[in-house]
């Protein structure tokens, strides 16, 4: 545990999925069932043995026969104890395997889908498939062996009863399933109400987490009371839902006492009459009573099983929705299968390193990114150049490689396959995600860069101060989402991480939007030398960065309308030059704003 490869489950139906998991751990399921049966039957035999001892007549004190009977009782009891603990171990193993395999399948799948998973499903829902639904699958495998054991014990008791008294045996044989069926009627609405409360409680937890994450914002505007009021409102909703559960649950609790109790009363009445008539012994009467009391055990298991199986199927259905999100294919269609489990770049083959760098061409916009150069994309609407940049690397659920009109070295990206594209072209967006963990592994995905390489990338990104602010430097921990860092610090770390990919083509979208002018200027100066000999695309409108670009392309309405270096475009007398100045010159920025407002509606 965990599995090296969790495998590929059928996604056709919850039943098919559960069957697939069961086949994977069949031996364990059977072993748990066997031990469960053994334990239950041993426990069921206790009343029988007790009755026999009592029948040997206690009047004469502890005779040999009584002692023998007691020893048998002890022996069977001990076997039951041992069988129960072995069954528990097997059941937990079943639980863990099924639950963790499901969690692993889900956890691995979301790393292969790209953002398609978030486009199709809310994040919280995906997380809860791992946090709760996969555990429900485990519960199914925990309860099924117990259920089998319970059914076996019930049959044993019925047979023993039949041997003493046919009417009693028949009564139990029919009575118990009837009781289980009635209880089943309550279990379904109960399961529904419980899931209602769980949902409400989940929202409450989200609100709680929200309070903490937004505490600084709340403090700034004094929204604390309003927010606490919202929390209280939802908390009361959870309480109300809980009270509804309590009503149904207590009904079930009452019925669990009442129905077997009635069965018990019937058995005692019938048995006592037989005993009075001398047909059965007093010991057998005690045995009957013991059976009836024992049978509540299997009954509890049966109602639990019904509840768990219902929830399990619902859980699997939710899991299947996540597993059905298609993968990007970036990790599957690569030409070298051996590489699949490795980070995809830098390209490890020496031959590939020697390959002459290739131009990147987008036919739709007319953009040509020349190999080994630093190209800047500028547009009046920053979303437009950003979208073009992302398209160059076919990133995100909004792009399909089959539709891409981008060529690398003259070959369409669709022909090269997504795996090769990801290996050679890396797109770093402006709001990238930092992951929890050591700074070192957060920066270097392959884990093979040495300290010098890491420090040099951090220096290029002017992120030395981040290194100082994280305790233990490179080996220090980054909190979730880099929460302990400022926006500018996060952005510079993300830039360093992008640089460390050493990608043949690196596309940076607004890499300096959250840093001050001094820092931006330093980064701009260092970026070119750091990427020397490789292809770099930067989306920016900052003159500090544009100044250092080998080539600037001005994008308008989806097309490249002008190209040249920063100074030649600034001094251009034509309409393109005017347009360029309008976009990048800060002194004139205000003049064009009104016009832009009307022309460039937000994309979101």
């Amino acid at each position: 545990m965990p599995y090296r490869d969790p495998g590929t489950p059928p996604l056709t139906s919850p039943q098919a999925y559960l069957g697939w998991v069961a086949r994977g751990q069949l031996g364990l399921v059977l072993s748990a069932s066997a031990w469960g049966t053994c334990g239950f039957v041993a426990t069921a035999l206790l009343p029988y043995l007790l009755g026999r001892v009592l029948d040997h007549g206690l009047q004469d004190g502890p005779t040999d026969e009584v002692v023998r009977g007691v020893l048998v009782l002890l022996a069977v009891g001990t076997v039951g104890v041992l069988a129960n603990v072995v069954e528990h171990r097997r059941a937990v193993e079943n639980w863990v395997r099924a639950a963790f395999r499901s969690a692993q399948l889900l956890g691995h799948h979301v790393t292969r889908t790209g953002d398609a998973v978030t486009v199709e499903l809310p994040t919280g829902e995906v997380v809860s498939t791992v946090a709760s639904d996969s555990l429900r699958v485990g519960e199914v495998f925990w309860i099924v062996p117990r259920l089998l054991g319970a059914v076996a014990a019930y049959l044993v008791v019925a047979v023993l009863l039949l041997r003493s008294s046919v009417p009693l045996g028949v009564a139990v044989l029919i009575g118990l399933p009837a009781v289980a069926a009635v209880l089943g009627l309550v279990v379904r609405p109960l399961t529904r109400r419980e899931s209602g409360q769980r949902e409400a409680a989940g929202r409450l937890t989200t609100l709680g987490a929200d309070t903490v994450s937004g505490l600084r914002i709340l403090r700034g505007i004094g929204g604390e009371e309003a927010f606490a009021a919202r929390y209280r409102e939802q908390s009361q909703r959870v309480r109300t839902a809980g009270v509804a559960v309590a009503r149904t649950q207590s009904l079930l609790d009452g019925l669990t006492v009442l129905l077997p109790g009635l069965l018990l009363a019937g058995i005692v009445w019938f048995g006592a009459r037989l005993a009075a008539a001398g047909t059965i012994t007093p010991g057998q009467l005690v045995t009957f009573y013991g059976y009836a009391a024992f049978l509540t055990g299997p009954l509890d298991v049966a109602t639990d099983a019904l509840r768990i199986l219902t929830r399990g199927v619902v859980g699997v259905r939710r899991m299947l929705r996540v597993l059905a999100v298609p993968t990007t294919g970036a990790e599957h269609d690569g030409p070298r299968p051996a590489e699949r489990n490795r980070p995809l770049s830098p390209d490890p083959s020496p031959a590939a390193r020697l390959r002459p760098a290739e131009d990147l061409v987008d036919e739709r916009s007319g953009l040509r990114v020349r190999a080994g150069r630093l190209t800047a994309l500028v547009s009046a609407d920053p979303d437009e150049s950003a979208a073009l940049a992302v398209r160059l690397g076919v990133l995100g659920a909004e792009h399909r490689i089959e539709d891409s009109l981008v060529r690398l070295g003259g070959t369409r990206l669709a022909e090269r396959g997504l795996a090769e594209v990801r290996r050679r072209i890396v797109v770093a967006e402006s709001a990238p995600h930092l992951f929890t963990g050591r700074l070192r592994s957060g920066l270097d995905r392959g884990g093979d860069a040495d300290d010098a390489a890491l420090l040099s990338a951090l220096a290029t990104a002017d992120a030395g101060d981040v290194l100082d602010s994280v305790p233990h430097g490179l080996d220090g921990e980054i909190e979730e989402k880099g929460r302990s860092l400022s926006g500018g610090q996060r952005q510079r770390l993300a830039l360093a991480r992008a640089l460390l990919t050493e990608a043949e083509v690196l596309v940076l979208v607004e890499p300096t939007s959250a840093v001050d002018a001094h820092t931006e200027s330093r980064i701009a100066q260092r970026l070119g030398p750091a990427r020397a000999g490789r292809t770099t695309v930067v989306v920016t409108a900052s003159p500090l960065v544009l100044e250092h670009a080998d080539e600037v392309a001005l994008i308008d309405d989806g097309r490249v309308v002008a190209r040249g270096d920063h100074h030649s475009l600034l001094t251009d007398d034509g309409p393109a030059g005017h347009r360029y100045r309008a976009v990048v010159s800060r002194a004139e920025a205000e003049d064009s704003t009104e016009e832009e407002e009307n022309r460039a509606p937000s994309r979101r």
Binding site: N84, R89, F100, T111, E125, L215, A229, W269, P282, V515
Partner: protein, 577 residues
Amino acid sequence: MRLPVADRGLLREQTRALLRAHRRPLAVVLVLHGLAAVAGLVGPWLLGRIVDAVVAGEAADIVDRATVGLLVAVLAQAVLIRYAQRAARVLGETVFADLREDFITTVTRLPLSTVERAGTGDLLGRTTNDIDRAQHSVRFGVPRILVASVTTVLTLAAAFVVDARVAVALLTGAPLLVLTSRWYLRRATPAYLRESAAYASLNGSISESVEGARTIDALGLGPQRRARIDADLREAFDAESATLRLRTVLFPGVDLSFVLPVVATVLWGAVLVGQGTASVGAVATIAVYALGISQPVGELIFWLDEIQVGGTSLARILGVGLVEPDRSPGSAAPDGEQVEARALRYAYRPGHDVLHEVDLDLLPGERLAVVGPSGAGKSTLGRMLAGIHPPTGGSVTVGHVPLVDLPLDELRGHVALVTQEHHVFVGSIAQNLRLAAPEASDAELLAAMDAVDAGGWLGALPEGLETAVGSGGLSLSPAQAQQVALARLVLLDPHTLVLDEATSLLDPRAARHLERSLSAVLAGRTVVAIAHRLHTAHDADRVAVVDAGRITELGPHEVLVASDGEYAALWRSWQQE
């Protein structure tokens, strides 16, 4: 510096207070469950009577009466259990609702400096994991423990009433029971805490993988993320194995301690019956009690360990209440709207001042831009001016009253702060906005959104203000989130505003446009704008340059540019031409 954790004494005291506060329903639960347990004991007792009657050959008289008695007992027990369980669960729900609401109220009042020193992770863990864990104990554990204890005690008592000499045999299982459960309980809490920490970490990793799915795709981080998930699963597996080992000792120990009394009762009963000092019926009754007691005692042990885990969580929840408040609201009312800072000092760590004796008078109605290199203390100054932290030395006053002497809700009527943080709260856009003004009408909300240039995209949303945003809802771009934050400020309408990089996530031209729209709405308000984009300074009435914790230059843009100091250099480098 972690947040405090309540010690045992306080935990006990608070638990007792909680139980006292719900005295009546608690008494109802106990009485109902006691009666139910008594009704449950009738069955074995009647069985013993029947056995004795059969042995004596007088069974015919008693059977029907005994059966009617049994039926009544079963009926009574069922009804009592029904209402007792309902009352117990409702009590659990109510107690826990009170507990978590108090907790959140405490959280919203925590001094920010304490939370930041401890790390938000600590508080977040208490708000989510600890609340979840404690609620399991409080909502289900407390009622079940009450039931199990009542049943156990009454069963033992009944056994002793039936025949004390026979009942002594029931205690044979006790030594083994006590030994194994003590052994187990001593080890259980850390083991289960490790288990839930492992699951929390797994859920965190999954959540990050989902939120960062696009980044994972872009940078080929898949293998790294999968390795992390596998590591989390391995840890969870190890933690599960550890608790399983503990139960491998506990279960047979406990189970065996329930077999022993049955055996002992029969054996000892035989001795007594042989001597003629006990009846077979009494032995039968007590033997059946011995079989029956295993269920409540087993449950008790199961919950004792859950309660321990819940107790640790409860201690962390109650511990938050121990944080000393960082302000003590006085009764002085501000005289005017003038905000002044005098000899202001602040240190996040003692001895490391990030602000040195700063003096600053805000002129009512002015727009002051604060610029300077990263780490110069701009944001700290902004937070002081908004009364977020009490200063280490010196003072910030509004109308001659220190900001930290004002009650929080009154303070926000004077000064408010918006930062670059783009957190969107779960709920509708309207709910997000009403945090600042709970009474605002929809029209006012729309007007505020228009004032921050957000009317366009808001209007394009089919559900408008009612659109669900935040985790699980529509995800707003950082720029949109910042607009929502600024719209809140418009609704709050204090006379002094501190904007700390509040437009930094918008593209430069949109930012500048927004700032101008905003200043039209906020005409007459005092605005302190901390910015790294210098056009903010260019547009301001005055500019303050902060460097190394001091204000080094202060004056209108033109004057500073003309004086050819630090600001002038900055402006030229920024301007480029």
